[in-house]
Amino acid sequence: MRAFIVLVQKEFLQIRRNSFLPKLIVVFPIMIMLLMPLIMTMDVRNVNVAVVDLDRSTTSHRIASHIEASEYLTLAQTTAEYSLSIEALEQGEVDVIVQIPANFERDMMIATPKRISITANAVNATKGGMGMQYIVQTIARTLSELRGEKSPSKLSELVTIENRYNSTLNYRHYMIPALMIILFILICGFLPALSIVGEKESGTIEQINVTPLSRLTFTLAKLLPYWIIGLFVVTVAMLVARLAYGLIPVGSVGAIYLGAILFIFTISGLSLTIANFSETMQQTMFVMFFFIMIFMLMSGLLTPIDSMPLWAQKFTTILPPRYYIEILRSVYLKGTSIVELWINFVALGIFAVIFNLLAAFTYKKQV
């Protein structure tokens, strides 16, 4: 027991003596949580719109002014010729062109107007697609307003929309749990692996291996500090999310911590396994990168799993972050309880056991 305590103390001492690690552990989570939600957003803003107004009527003016008033759209230019606007589109000054045909207002009265045409630059598929949608919505609203004014009985809204759990469709609230997971992977995944391989590189592990110390004690003492650091990081991340973005979990904080503990176990077990198979830090880094890429892109952190091809969806069942992101998002946004999410906790628990057993078995004190 004394050996274990001394080992843990030594680990903390080494982290503290390192010129870089303490800063990384404190500053990195805060930076990620503060800056990334501002940058990583799928909301499309500042879509530059050109209106080609061949009608020059009240209706066309109304459409243009609605576009201008939208917080997502910017009216970049109003021209009377499509060719001028398409030139601007080619040069990238304009993202979407709205052409209102001649006599649109008059034809609308007699119910057979020519169609309004929308041309979008879809090089950036998201921006093109979303921009198109915003414009369709804006025009539809303008037209239904106009109809409402003209006809004696106000038309009732045909469709009502309500976004449950994230009522403002705030992309940040969707992203923050994902960022927390990325932090875990980086801090609890990378650091213990590098610390162990570092001992291999400097030869100190040999000096440890000739002592009667058991490998379980050594491994646990290596991991414990990073488990503690992981819990510190999740606390900091939750505080930053609350203070900077007002994001407070609807569900219980306990569920988040329980998930965090299981996830940290899993990820550190994986990192130990990788460390056991690598001889140099460089090797560890590359293998870790490989896993991180798959975790980030395929676990539903950035893109929804439901929109992946079926085979990919099946593959995600073996990715631990998939379960924790589901826990985090459900607890944060919906307030789901541990009982309802039991399958995710069990899955994480199983992964934790598998990876740690793998780590214990692949750690060779004797070759």
């Binding site: 004394r2 080494q14 002592t211």
Partner: protein
């Protein structure tokens, strides 16, 4: 019971046969030296005996414990100082010592009188980080750490490599002091001149042991007459001496060439033969361990 018993031990790394059927034994309280060039298998032997790796075949016992079956017992009764400095460079001298003491479940005070002669020399720097120590001080710290749990057998892998001549000599004095405490010490070195400080030595090369004896015994096993020769043009002399009658071998050795001769060799005859060589000097000399080594290696 001997402190170390090695029987037909072999170990290979892929195609490289690092250790080939090696057998020897070290008595209790003996200072035993493994002498050989790089790649002789010295480090492999140390790693096997300290249970860091397992042998391919053969067996060995350290302090009566089998290196495969009873590796756990061995780990608490041996001290190992690897060739490369492998203490924590970011911990201080004192912290390293306390750390290793704790791993063995002892305190520094328990073994203080054993390590004192060595540790006293670095004690003034006890708060300095181990990585910032000079080479000789690092070596003293490593030795202190290897002794902290009062091991019965001490393994020192090339402890003097890269250390200056004065520190090297001091280090061997320290080993003599430790021997008085009854420790068995197995030490390896590529320096032949250090061999005479050992009780017995094993000359090894390419994974085999060529000869085991006391340093004196090794030298007396050299049954040929040896001469040292010297002239202005050393290279031409070497070529020519090798071809002359009664010469078994001639090789450069410091500022002279060493000439191994057989019964047919006659020094007067040689002098006449080489009378055209400028400033020729030739005199009989006593063989050194290195001469024995070169002879064994060529066989």
């Amino acid at each position: 019971m001997n402190a170390i018993e090695v029987h037909n031990l072999s170990k290979s790394y892929g195609k490289v046969q690092a250790l080939d059927n090696v057998s020897f034994s070290v008595e209790r309280g003996e200072l035993f030296g493994l002498i050989g060039p790089d790649g002789a298998g010295k480090t492999t032997l140390f790693r096997l005996l300290t249970t860091l790796i397992s042998p391919d075949s053969g067996r060995a016992e350290v302090d009566g414990f089998d290196i495969v079956k009873n590796y756990h017992e061995i780990r608490s009764c041996v001290g190992y100082m690897p060739g490369r400095f492998s203490l924590y460079p970011d911990l201080s001298v004192e912290e390293n010592l306390n750390f290793f003491a704790a791993l063995f479940g002892v305190t520094v005070e328990d073994s203080y009188e054993l390590i004192a002669p060595i540790y006293k020399q670095i004690e003034p720097f006890r708060t300095r980080r181990a990585g910032k120590l000079s080479g000789g001080m690092k070596q003293k710290l490593a030795l202190s750490c290897a002794l902290i749990h009062r091991p019965k057998v001490l393994f020192l892998d090339e402890p003097t490599t890269g250390v200056d001549a004065v520190s090297r000599s001091e280090f061997w004095d320290m080993l003599s002091t430790l021997k008085e405490h009854g420790l068995t010490i197995l030490v390896s070195t590529p320096y032949m001149d250090e061999a005479s400080r050992c009780d017995r030595i094993a000359l090894c090369n390419e994974g085999r042991i060529l000869s085991i004896n006391t340093p004196k015994g090794i030298v007396s096993g050299f049954d040929r007459q040896l001469y040292g020769i010297k002239s202005k043009n050393m290279f031409a002399l070497l070529e020519r001496a090798r071809r002359s009658e009664g010469v078994i071998d001639c090789y450069p050795f410091g500022e002279k060439h060493h000439l191994i001769t057989n019964e047919v060799f006659d020094i007067e005859q040689f002098k006449i033969q080489f009378c055209d060589v400028k400033d020729l000097e030739i005199e009989p000399i006593e063989p050194t361990i290195e001469d024995v080594f070169i002879k064994l290696m060529k066989r």
